[in-house]
Symmetry: C2
Subunit: 335 residues, 2 copies
C-alpha cells in the first residue's frame, strides 16, 4: 500500500499510489482509471483490470484532489458543545453512523461550550466540507443567521427562522410528562429550569407554562449538570411538591442522588422525571422516568437534509416525535 523512498534529508518519505501509478500499471490512461473507479462508461474488461490493479497497488483516492474538481469533498462537519455530554455523544453517533452508510467523512468539532469557537468552527468547516450540522444551544439567532449559510447548514436540536433545522417535539414531550404526573395524582411539581440562554430550556419552560391545572414551582439559576441536580435535590425537599421534572437527565440524576443521600425514597416520597432519555437514565437507582428524545435519529435526519436525500419537498424544518419512557422513578403521589 505504501512505498518508501530515500529522502535527501536522510529521513523516510512515504510515497502514495496515485491514478498515474494505476494507469501505468494497467496500461491505460488516467481518465480511464478515473472512469473505472467512479462508475463512468468503461468496457467491463477494462474496468475489471483497472480495479484489480488498483486493489493490488492499494490505491486509495485522494479525496481532497477529487473535491477540488467536483466541488464536493465528501466530508461533513459536526459542531457540538461537548462530546462528553451523553446527549451530544448520541447525536454524534447518529451522524457518524449515517455518514458511514453514505460514505462520507465527518469532521467533529467540540467547542467546549464556547459560542465564539462555535462560530469559528462554522467558518472553517463551512469552507472545507459539503455542509455542516450545528448543535448550538447558546449562540444568538442573529449570530447564527450571520454565520451560517442556509444552503449548507442544518441546525440540530434548535430552530432559527431562516435556517433548516431538525428538532424534537419538546412541547409534546413536556405534555406527556405532565400528563403522566397528573395521572399519578401529583398537583404540585417542581421544575428545575435549564440555562436561560438555551433555546431548548426556553422551549421547555414555555411548554410547561401552558400546562394548566398544575401548581408549578420553577427552580432557576442552577447549572444543567449533575451538581446542579444535587442543589436542586435540597430545594425540592424544602418545598411542598411531590414530584420534580428536571431540565435533563444529568440534573435528574443529581436530584436522585441527593434525595437518596437525604433518605427520601423515590418514588414514594418524591417522583423524579428527567428529559432526553440518555443511556444513563436506565442505569440510575431507581431507573429514571424520562422524556425520550430521538438524539441519534436527529443526527441522521439532519445529515439527510444536508445531502438532499430527504423527500422531494423542500421541507427545511423537521420535528421529530418524543415519547415518555416510564421507569421506576415516578409513582403515585403520597401527600
Amino acid at each position: 500500500m505504501l512505498a518508501r523512498a530515500g529522502d535527501e534529508g536522510g529521513g523516510i518519505h512515504v510515497v502514495r499510489t496515485t491514478v498515474q501509478d494505476v494507469a501505468r500499471a494497467a496500461g491505460v490512461s488516467v481518465s480511464t482509471v478515473s472512469r473505472a473507479l467512479t462508475g463512468g462508461i468503461v468496457s467491463p474488461a477494462t474496468r475489471e483490470a483497472v480495479l484489480e490493479v488498483a486493489t493490488r497497488l492499494g490505491y486509495q483516492p485522494n479525496r481532497a484532489a477529487r473535491g477540488l474538481i467536483t466541488g464536493r469533498t465528501g466530508n461533513l462537519g459536526l459542531i457540538v458543545p461537548d462530546l462528553r455530554n451523553p446527549f451530544f455523544a448520541d447525536v454524534a453517533k447518529g451522524v457518524t453512523a449515517r455518514a458511514r452508510a453514505v460514505d462520507h467523512g465527518v469532521f467533529i468539532t467540540d467547542t467546549d461550550e464556547d459560542p465564539v469557537a462555535e462560530l469559528e468552527a462554522l467558518a472553517t468547516l463551512g469552507r472545507n466540507t459539503d455542509g455542516v450540522l450545528l448543535c448550538s444551544p447558546r449562540a444568538s439567532d442573529a449570530d447564527l443567521l450571520a454565520a451560517a449559510d442556509p444552503e449548507t447548514t442544518v441546525l440540530l436540536h434548535r430552530r432559527v427562522p431562516g435556517l433548516p433545522s431538525v428538532v424534537a417535539d419538546i412541547a409534546g414531550g413536556i405534555r406527556q410528562a405532565v400528563r403522566h404526573l397528573r395521572a399519578l395524582g401529583h398537583r404540585r411539581i417542581a421544575y428545575v429550569c435549564g440555562p436561560e440562554d438555551s433555546w431548548a430550556a426556553q422551549q421547555r419552560l414555555a411548554a410547561l407554562s401552558t400546562a394548566g391545572d398544575l401548581e408549578l414551582l420553577p427552580l432557576g439559576g442552577l447549572a444543567p449538570t449533575f451538581d446542579g441536580g444535587l442543589l436542586a435535590g435540597d430545594l425540592v425537599l424544602d418545598s411542598p411538591v411531590t414530584a420534580v421534572l428536571a431540565y435533563n437527565d444529568l440534573v435528574a440524576l443529581g436530584v436522585l442522588h441527593r434525595l437518596a443521600a437525604r433518605g427520601a425514597v423515590v418514588p414514594e416520597r418524591m417522583s423524579v422525571v428527567g428529559f432526553d432519555d440518555v443511556s444513563l437514565a436506565a442505569m440510575s437507582h431507581p431507573p429514571l422516568t424520562s422524556v425520550a428524545v430521538p438524539k441519534d435519529r436527529a443526527g441522521a435526519v439532519g445529515l439527510d437534509l444536508l445531502l438532499g436525500r430527504t423527500g422531494a419537498t423542500a421541507e427545511r424544518e423537521m420535528v421529530l416525535p418524543t415519547g415518555l419512557v416510564v421507569r421506576a422513578s415516578s409513582g403515585v403521589a403520597r401527600p
Copy 2:
C-alpha cells in the same frame, strides 16, 4: 463571506472567495497573498493590506487545495469503537481539544465495534489525513501491523510492538486497587473479566494474576456493559467474596444496581471497585471507587506524538500513570 450568483439551472450557486479574489481586490499577485497569509517574506505594509482585504472578503483558505501541494492536510483521523461509550467520548474530547489548539481538524469514525470497519476507516483516513489515532481493542496485532503505517498511526490504549502507542499503566492501576482492598481487610474478591479478545482485558487479568496473597474469583463470559454488570451482581452475591473489582465502570454500575435491588448494602455487605473513572463513576449511588485512567490526556498525548510535537527522543511508546479514586463504594470488609 459568501456571494451568490445566478445559475443557468435557475438554482442558487454559492461562490467562495479564493486567493484570486483577494489578490485582485488587494491589487497584488496571488503569490503575494499566499505569502502574506502563510507567513512568508512580504513587506509589512503589503501584509497588512492583504490581511485587511482577506478578512473583509471573509476569505477562508481551502485546506484541500493547500494540502494538495504541501502534502499536509492539517487534518487528523480518530477511530473509536463507540462514541456513546463514555470512555471513548473522553478520548475524543482530549483529541479534539488538542487538535483545536494546534489548528487541526479531526475526522472521527465510529466503527460500531466492527473490526472490519476499523480497518477500512484506517485505509481511508490514512490517505486523507496527516495521521490517525486508533482505538482498536479487538483487531489482531497482525491485522493492525498490516494495515497501519507506523509513521502516521498512533495506537491509543493499546500496545502492539512496532507501532507507536499511548497506553495507561493498567498494571499499576490494578495494583493500587488490590492494595486498597487488601488494606480494607478483603481477602477474597471477585473480578468481572472483560472480553477475552480485548487487549485491555488481557492486561488487567495478567496484572491481577500476579497480585498474590489474595483469593481471586474470576467471572468470565460477561458483556463489558451495564447489563453484564447486572448479571455479575447476582454471581458475586452467590459467592463468598467481600469485594468485587469490575472490568470497567459500566460493569461496576451494573453490579451496584443489582446489589441495591437485592438489598445488599454497598460497601457494608460488598465493596465495589470500577476501572476507568468515567464521569458516571461520581454520579452513582454510592459514588464509585475507581481506577482513574487519563483518557483525554492519552488522546492529547497521542496527537502530539503523531505531529512530532513531543520531546526530541524517538519515544514511540508512552505509558501514562493511573491512580485510584476512592469514593464511597469501597469500605472495610465485614466477614
